[in-house]
């Protein structure tokens, strides 16, 4: 088991930061907080794994970044926006700057692959001719060009996650948040998805992946942030999955 825990240098400037958490705490009820005084900086264009056991605060972190929750204290800054200061009506526009992928895919079941991806473009009121150009292009990027008419239930788990990925990417977000993207997938599909995420990251998108997948984390040699009971216990440049006993 790795025992060395190297705190990364965060740097003084904030212009190159995609995500900044400053002394962020989040408590749902009285008792142990889900996040406890977490400070974290993620640079633009980085690929970061967030790992940790259940209840370590990973999901709370994602919810704070999505502005689904507000921190009890501290500041969450995403793409230069102080998320805590956002008004309710500003949230949709803020979320459009993020791409999100969930473990359970969260596709619109009554719509086909094309419409699921196009939906993200309709939200930003993209003209139809642009949608007709962008959606096939992103579907071919994720390898689903031939399945644009299929409904989610006609696809495998891996394919569904690719659709979710295409939907997250079609608006060209600066940050991609992936919450257990391989949680429901077999090893082959998991690797396919991770390779796609790496490709996306190579094109300049900041990628933040919350995962339990030890094999992938250890193999990819990316920055790994390990959380336990609401605090960051390790932050390594090219880290691996730390077993916490």
């Amino acid at each position: 088991m790795k025992t060395t825990r190297t705190r990364r240098r965060t740097g003084a400037g904030t212009a190159d930061k995609a995500i900044i958490l400053e002394h962020v705490s989040k408590a749902y009820t009285v008792g142990v907080p889900a996040l406890n005084d977490v400070t974290l900086h993620i640079n633009k264009g980085e690929f970061v794994f967030i790992v940790g056991d259940s209840g370590s605060g990973k999901s709370t972190l994602i919810k704070l970044l999505l502005r689904e929750l507000l921190p009890t204290s501290g500041r969450v800054i995403v793409n230069g926006t102080d998320v805590g200061r956002l008004k309710r009506r500003q949230i949709p526009k803020f979320r459009r700057s993020l791409g999100v992928v969930f473990q359970d895919f969260r596709l619109l079941k009554d719509r086909n692959v094309y419409e699921n991806v196009a939906f993200a473009q309709r939200i930003i009121q993209m003209p139809n001719r642009e949608i007709r150009r962008n959606v096939p292009s992103i579907l071919s990027t994720v390898g689903l060009a031939g399945k644009y008419k299929a409904r989610p239930k006609q696809l495998s788990g891996g394919e569904q996650q690719r659709v979710a990925l295409a939907r997250a990417l079609v608006n060209k977000p600066q940050i991609l948040l992936a919450d257990e993207p391989t949680g429901n997938l077999d090893p082959k599909n998991s690797w396919d998805i991770m390779n796609l995420l790496e490709k996306i990251n190579n094109n300049g998108t900041t990628v933040l992946v919350v995962t339990h997948n030890r094999e992938i984390v250890n193999a990819m040699q990316k920055r790994v942030i390990t959380m336990k009971k609401g605090i960051i216990v390790s932050d390594e440049e090219k880290g691996g999955y730390i077993d916490e006993d």
Binding site: L66, E68, R89, P92, K93, F94, R95, R96, L98, V100, R106, L107, L108, K109, D110, F119, A120, R122, I123, I124, Q125, P127, N128, R167, A168
Partner: protein, 298 residues
């Protein structure tokens, strides 16, 4: 908002109606059932009020004039009565006309055998009221007019009609309010259930950055269209039942239909159609709008 976004929302709303056909059917059935009862009750009530109003129209006060009164004074009194707001119509009956009418009604046959008019001092005004509850006011006024010797009134009938009118008013308001509240409760519950099962869909939309308007619009359009269909179905039903009822009464009870004429279906529907459509569309709109709002806080 772009025009294609607007069309997209409308198209999604209409598509949802066919996609969620069981929910649509349940909602339309609930709205139809509630508005059908409402329509039926409204039709019955309108006819009942029509009957009472007709009875009121027939009710008159007779002001008997003093014998030997001059024609000028009769005209003066007539003018005074006509000017009163509670009066709708005034008819003068001379002593001769009164006698002829009485004889006809009593089947006296040939009245030429009477050398004198037995109702010589019975010249009078028949005064019809626009509001039967004002009869006592009118009577006390007439009793104070010089030249009128006696006022005959049907006080009990007037009182009974006023009472019936008031009861119909209270009962109808009560029943309409109850039906309205029950309708809103049932319909919004049905709409809520239909939308709640799709709350995941709403949440997905919100997660990927849809505005409240964009998320809500298809559901609201769906609610409005369901409300519209749900209001037209009972209107068609009430229309046919009403016409059938009119024909049935005319066929089976001809004497009754002579006494009480039904309100024409066009008159009933002139009010019923906008009220039912307004209720259906309004409830569909409010039900879907408020239910979606519950799931928008993501």
């Amino acid at each position: 908002m772009r025009i294609n976004t607007l069309f997209y929302c409308i198209w999604q709303g209409i598509r949802n109606i066919f996609k969620n056909k069981w929910f649509t059917l349940a909602s339309v059935a609930t709205i139809s059932a509630c508005l059908f009862l409402f329509g039926l009750f409204y039709s019955i009530l309108t006819n009942f009020q029509h009957i009472v109003r007709n009875a009121e129209k027939e009710l008159c006060v007779s002001a008997l004039l003093e014998s030997g009164i001059s024609d000028e004074r009769v005209a003066e009194i007539r003018g005074m009565i006509v000017r009163r707001t509670e009066v709708s119509k005034v008819e003068f009956m001379s002593a001769e006309e009164t006698w002829i009418q009485f004889a006809e009604e009593s089947n006296f046959g040939d009245i030429s055998i009477f050398t004198e008019n037995p109702l010589e001092d019975c010249a009078h005004f028949d005064i019809y009221l626009s509001d039967v509850s004002m009869q006592p006011t009118l009577v006390s006024y007439l009793e104070s007019v010089e030249g009128i010797r006696k006022v005959n009134q049907s006080f009990l009938t007037a009182q009974a009609l006023t009472g019936v009118n008031a009861i119909i008013g209270y009962v109808s308001i009560g029943i309409i309010v109850i039906l309205f509240l029950v309708s809103i409760f049932l319909i919004s519950n049905t709409v809520s259930i239909g939308i709640s099962v799709r709350k995941e869909e709403i949440q997905i939309m919100k997660y990927i950055g849809a505005t409240d308007f964009f998320t809500r619009a298809p559901f609201v359009i769906e609610g409005i269209v369901i409300g519209l269909i749900g209001s037209f179905v009972p209107l068609i039903g009430v229309y046919f039942i009403y016409n059938e009822a009119m024909m049935y009464v005319a066929r089976r009870f001809p004497s009754l239909s002579q006494l009480f004429a039904f309100v024409p279906v066009e008159s009933v529907f002139a009010n019923l159609v906008p009220v039912c459509v307004g209720l259906g569309v309004g409830i569909g709109f409010i039900g879907s709008f408020t239910t979606v709002r519950k799931h928008l806080s993501v």
